[in-house]
Amino acid sequence: MINKRIETTGEAVADIFDGAIVMVGGFGEAGSPIELIHALIDHGANDLTVVNNNTGSGEVGLAALIKAGRVSKMICSYPRTANSTVFPELYRSGRTALELVPQGTLAERIRAGGAGIPAFYTPTSVGTPLADGKEQRTIEGRSYVLEYGLTADFALIKCRAADHHGNLVYNKTARNFSPIMAMAAKTTIVQAADVVAPGEIDPECVVTPGIFVSLVVAVDEPAHESELVARGVSYP
C-alpha cells in the first residue's frame, strides 16, 4: 500500500546531500516551506544550489539557510525584496553566486525540466544583457534565445492538503512555482497543513498528482514568514 507520509520534517530532509540542487517553492512568503527549510538547516547539508524566485526575508526560512552559509549559488529572478538583507551581503562578498533568470524563463525552465524537454526558444530577454552569450535563432522573423531546462535533486514544497499518495492541493497564490518544481525534482518533499486519506481530495481538484511527490510530512500550523520577521525571529 502506498503511503508517502513520513513523521517528522527532520526525517523528510535527511537524504539531502552536500552539493545538491534544491528547488524551494514559494513567491515571497506565499508558499514558502519554512519548516522544511529549518529542518534542512538543522540537517546541515552544505554547498547547495537553491532555486527560488527570491532570496527570502529577515533571518528565517530561505534567508536563514543562506545566512547559515549553506547556499553556494542561488538561481532566481528577483533577489531583492523588502527585509532582504542576508543575500545582498553574501553576494557582494562573493560567498554566494547568483544566476539571474527572468521570472517566466525560470518557470518555463523548471516546467521543461520536469517534462523531459532539454531546452527551448523564448523571446524573453532578446536584446538585453541577459541574452549575452546565449544561442539565438530567428523563427518566422522573430528572434529567440535558447534556454535550458532545469532539474533538481530535491524540491521542498508547501501545500494546504496532501493525501497518502501525494496528491496535492495548494492555498491561493501559495501555489506559484510548487507544482512545476514537484515535477522537476528527483525527490519532492512536501509539507502539508492537512494530510488526508486517499479519496478525500476530489480527483477533479488535485493540482499536483501524486506521481510527482516522494514524501509528505504534516505541519499543522505552518509559520508565516512576515509574522516571524515582524517579531524579529532569527533561525536557529
Binding site: 506565499a30 518557470a107 523571446p123 491561493k172 501559495a174 501555489r175 509574522e227
Partner: protein
C-alpha cells in the same frame, strides 16, 4: 535646458502620481486582461471608469485580482507580484507560474502598464537595472511581460529627480526589451511611440509644448492638426 522641472511643492507643474494613474486608466478598455506593474501602475486599477470590467492578472498566479484588503487585513498567501496582500474577486482563478507566464508570453494578456527608468524613441524600455556595479541585479517578470504582452503602456515621471530626461534617443541603462513601448504617460504629457519617434498625444493641463520638448531627450513630434481635439 533653461530650468528644471519642479517635482514637488507649490510650484508643481503637471500631473501628480495619482493624476497620472487616473489618466492612464481612461485608456484601459472594457473587457481587457491587464497586468499592472509595481508602483504607480498599481494605482491605475483604482481609477478605471465605471461601467468597464477589467480583469487583473498578477504574475504570481492570480487572475481576477481585487483591491487591497486594507491595513492589517487579508492573508499572507494571497498577494500580488509586489508581495502585498490583495483580494480575489468573484470569478477569480489561481494557477502555477508556468501557466501564468504562458498567459504573458503566449500573448493572452491584452495590456501591461509598467514603470520606467528610460524609454527610447524606438520604444526600447529600460526598467530593471541602472547597471551600477554594486547593485544586486533583479529582473522579476518585466522581460517576459514586454516580450509577450501585446500593448505596453509606461507610466513615469518625465524627468529624473536630477532633472534628466527619461525619454531619450537611446537608452544608456540595460534594456528590458527593444521596441516594446506603445504609449507613455508622464506628469507632463501623453506620448505615443511611432516609427518616427515620440508623438505627442496630449499635454497635461497648463503645460506648454516647448516645456515638454525641452525636457525630452529626443525630438518630440507635435500633435497633428487633424487629430486636435479628437479624443477626450
Amino acid at each position: 535646458m533653461t530650468e528644471k522641472a519642479t517635482t514637488s511643492g507649490a510650484n508643481r507643474i503637471g500631473l501628480t502620481r495619482d493624476e497620472m494613474a487616473r489618466r492612464a486608466a481612461l485608456d484601459i478598455p472594457d473587457g481587457a486582461y491587464v497586468n499592472l506593474g509595481i508602483g504607480i501602475p498599481e494605482q491605475v486599477a483604482g481609477y478605471v471608469p465605471e461601467g468597464r470590467e477589467v480583469i487583473y492578472h498578477t504574475e504570481n498566479g492570480l487572475l481576477g485580482m481585487g483591491p487591497s484588503p486594507g491595513l492589517g487585513e487579508g492573508e499572507p498567501e494571497l498577494i500580488n507580484a509586489g508581495k502585498r496582500r490583495v483580494t480575489a474577486l468573484a470569478g477569480a482563478s489561481f494557477f502555477h507560474h508556468a501557466d501564468s507566464f504562458a498567459m504573458i508570453r503566449g500573448g493572452h494578456i491584452d495590456l501591461c502598464v509598467l514603470g520606467a527608468l528610460q524609454v527610447s524613441k524606438h520604444g526600447d524600455l529600460a526598467n530593471w537595472s541602472t547597471g551600477a556595479p554594486d547593485a544586486i541585479p533583479a529582473v522579476g517578470g518585466a522581460m517576459d511581460l514586454v516580450a509577450g504582452v501585446r500593448t505596453i503602456y509606461v507610466i513615469t515621471q518625465h524627468c529624473t529627480r536630477a532633472g534628466e530626461p527619461k525619454l531619450v534617443e537611446s537608452c544608456t541603462y540595460p534594456l528590458t526589451g527593444p521596441a516594446v513601448v506603445d504609449r507613455i504617460y508622464t506628469d507632463l504629457a501623453v506620448i505615443d511611440v511611432i516609427p518616427e519617434g515620440f508623438q505627442l498625444v496630449e499635454l497635461a493641463p497648463g503645460v506648454e509644448f516647448s516645456y515638454v520638448a525641452e525636457r525630452t531627450g529626443a525630438e518630440l513630434i507635435p500633435i497633428r492638426q487633424e487629430s486636435l481635439g479628437g479624443e477626450e
